[in-house]
Symmetry: C2
Subunit: 512 residues, 2 copies
């Protein structure tokens, strides 16, 4: 058995059965092994940032890692931005990066690059398997690293000779350590703060934002009067009917500082204390009050649900119903507004939908209008590297096994990984993309105002996307995805409703 | 004056007057400075690998560096693959990468990443300017590094506070060291080998492949009977009437080994001794004979033309005319073949055209049929990281000031950086793209055969681009570029001829 076959066998034994790929010459033996060993679903992406973004979306829904197949250092490099986002989402991914044969590397052939060096900043674990005998063992360790709480990026570099040489040994799965148990001291401290403090914020991140975590957080809120917020950018938030009407820490510095000003205590549950996405002259980096005390209930690797349960027990917080969010919204009408679009989506999304949100500036108020939607999961751009929404939607649809994915997608960001549409068409995925077509980098025009000047033609040349306008219907059709344009919310609602009854993808260009 | 203004002033004083950009929040003060200080042409790319590839194409034609404007670590990461190609082309580029404010970095905000770590593998020079006072000085050093022979990638990381703080000091240009003068010993050795050896190969790379280098190489060839070849992948080769009918070292291992087998001596002129692009089981890494002696006339930083002149003088090689390549080819006819397409391009390209060649497997024989075309420059994919052709064509057109660029472009590679078309439309660039639409990764299907198996459905799912077919006319139209499909060489010739009389871009989808 060669190294490549041992790799496929090990991955499958470890429960990795989906491979997002864009292979090259040095990976041909691995491709052959995937072909010859049954069990791996292989999904092609036409650019590697699509591939890695799909793997991120897949993990967020499937709750287990997929592998990627990437070609040499530059193939990995193309996927780094969405690996950055995946790292911030704390997603588990096993990257398999084919590379030059060990003995060929010193010749510095054109595609030779510092593959490990590029992998390290986004990876929790990096290793190059230099011998076929090691590949199975290393792959099992990679999967273990990817599955270790909260989830990590494991990058296995596979020189082509380690792939084609005989001597491969499939390895058994390695045990995955459980998430860290609650620290009794941290639980008691949090309980004391909640009992005694008046202005307490319970800040939820990671698995605390899933249904069970919210159920417990709701009991704490009812028992103590604390406020509960989600981090600003989250991998996955359970939302809609039956879930808490949670809001997020606002993005805009002034708004966030105002929203957080009153809190004297912040209890972090798999979350970070809120800081600015960027610094601004004369604004603080920390968005919470300098007088606030920050308490850590759980770190990222902690078992958030167990910790919240321990806190509920310590507080003796009684059962409490999640509040009723009121009636389901009606679709919006007339010219597209953020609130109207959010209501339209809330009105028409199917039960169990997944929202992949890269709406950037347009979508900051989407939460408020969608609490009364049917139960759904909401995925955010976690690392700020734009170009994640479409690949996330695609990977989430692969993992979702029929769940409808609604991708709320800014146009400038969409262009980064527009190739995702082709994969959606090939795999006939239930993805409805709503392109928020404002034909500019609106967020940057807003930021430019903060510089204290009006943009002249040179600046606007870098901030607007008009001249020529992108025609999203043609672009989508060109990649095999049906599409239509809407200029009103009524038209958008019609298209959205139609799209959810289809089997495959559909794109709505919503001119805003 | 703030740091950003000092940066723009310094770049302009140093002769950098073109900025390929995709800015973000942390670069707004630099964008404002570009807006307020006249003189910089700013060209927006909708994804950073387009941006860096344009900068590479610009350098190859303009022979001076442009700057890029990239957003934080992930923005740089998106452009690394084409920086890898630019490094292999030995192109000079000044990357300006905006980043978190120095004091904000410790807070690990979502977009914080290891920007320097990602830059280092592709850069000859990396520095973070931590104070506004340092920005001008550092920018002058960056330009010096980019212009130092043969050309290098200089990456200047610009934290936002170094950009917005007052205290900026524009710096004067620093002297650029000349290319290394010929080594008399190397010249004498090469002359002796050429006089005494029988099977001698003069292998040209870098500036040796420009017109003057070829004129001198031709005299050496005439005087000594040596053979002359170009490296396999070159940044820029002067070709067509009045230039040598040079061939390249073949890509395919067996073909290259056969072509090089007879040479007992190889003299390198700004070139590397030929090795395989990849290793293959039971094939050597070196493609030249194990018995051959390799002699270095000049390294990459050497003055190739001066060294060739010194060699001509040492040999006393008389003036010699470049051989006449025969009549200009007629356009091909019927179904598209590589030879027929090459003849069509040779027949119809305008004098002074630039060919940006990312034709991959289809284009291996293009040289043989295009020696008798009008004088033109040919740009190759140098680093093997696909997705370079369209950005190269775009940047070359910016530098070419009206020269027609013909982009011979494989479809799978085109999808990597398809966003380039929009920039071509916005800037109304004279680029004719010929998409070689075979709807598969043909090179990989060829490589798969070497694994010794027929691809089954799982493998073909990763190697073919059909299901659905990409519709290049729609994709191009969607980005504002006129386009048409051709299935015969006659139709291709008609469209190519029409396109060269236009002002703007045009795309031909040639179904092969």
């Amino acid at each position: 058995m060669n190294g490549a076959h041992s790799l496929v066998h090990t991955l499958l034994k470890s429960g990795v059965d989906t491979c997002f790929s864009n292979p090259g010459t040095s990976e041909m033996h691995f491709v052959a092994a995937l072909d010859q060993v049954p069990g791996m679903r292989c999904v092609l992406g036409l650019q590697e940032n699509v591939v890695t973004g799909m793997a991120d979306g897949y993990f967020r829904i499937a709750e287990k890692p997929a592998c990627t197949l990437l070609h040499c250092g530059p193939g990995l490099a193309n996927g780094l931005a969405n690996l950055h986002n995946a790292r911030r989402a704390r997603s588990g991914i096993v990257n398999v990066v084919g590379d030059q044969a060990t003995y060929h590397r010193p010749f510095d052939a054109p595609l030779t690059a510092d593959t490990e060096g590029w992998a390290r900043p986004v990876s929790a674990w990096v290793r190059t398997s230099t011998r076929a005998e090691d590949v199975g063992r290393d792959a099992a360790i990679a999967v273990q690293a990817a599955r270790t709480a909260p989830g990590g990026i494991a990058t296995l570099v596979l020189p082509s000779d380690a792939s084609w040489d005989e001597g491969g040994l499939p390895a058994d799965p390695l045990p995955v350590p459980p998430a860290t148990a609650p620290d009794p001291h941290a639980v008691r401290t949090a309980a004391r703060v909640l009992r005694e403090g008046r202005n307490v914020l319970l800040l939820l991140g990671g698995p605390a934002l899933r249904e069970e975590g919210q159920r417990l957080a709701n009991r704490i809120l009812r028992a103590t009067g604390a406020k509960v917020l989600a981090e600003g950018s989250n991998a996955r938030v359970a939302r809609g009917r039956g879930r808490m009407p949670l809001e997020r820490v606002p993005y805009v510095a002034d708004v966030a500082i105002k929203a957080l000003a009153g809190f004297e205590h912040i209890i972090l549950v798999n979350a970070k204390a809120p800081v600015g996405f960027f610094a601004y002259p004369d604004k603080p980096s920390r968005h919470y009050s300098p007088d606030a005390e920050v308490h850590v209930l759980t770190r990222f690797e902690g078992d958030a649900v167990a910790a919240l349960q321990a806190l509920v027990d310590e507080l003796g917080a009684p059962d409490a119903a999640i509040p009723d969010p009121g009636p389901r919204p009606e679709p919006g009408r007339g010219a597209p507004t953020p609130e109207g679009l959010a209501r339209t989506v809330a009105a028409l999304m199917p039960e169990g939908a997944i929202v992949a949100d890269e709406s950037v500036s347009f979508g900051r108020g989407f939460y408020a209008e969608t609490h009364a939607a049917p139960a759904h999961d909401w995925l955010h751009l976690t690392g700020g590297a734009i170009g994640d929404g479409m690949p996330l939607a695609t990977g989430a649809a692969i993992a979702g096994q029929g769940r409808r994915v609604i991708n709320l997608q800014a146009d400038g960001s969409a262009m980064y990984t527009v190739q995702s549409l082709w994969t959606q068409a090939r795999e006939r995925l239930p993805v409805t993309t709503i392109i928020l077509s404002n034909r500019k980098y609106q967020i940057l025009i807003g930021e430019y105002a903060g510089v204290g000047a009006n943009p002249g033609p040179t600046a606007m040349n870098m901030l607007d996307l008009g001249n020529p306008d992108l025609d999203w219907v043609k672009i989508a059709n060109g990649m095999g995805v049906e599409a239509a344009r809407a200029t009103t919310l009524e038209a958008c609602a019609d298209l959205l409703a139609q799209s959810t009854s289809r089997n495959g993808p559909f794109l709505i260009e919503l001119v805003i």
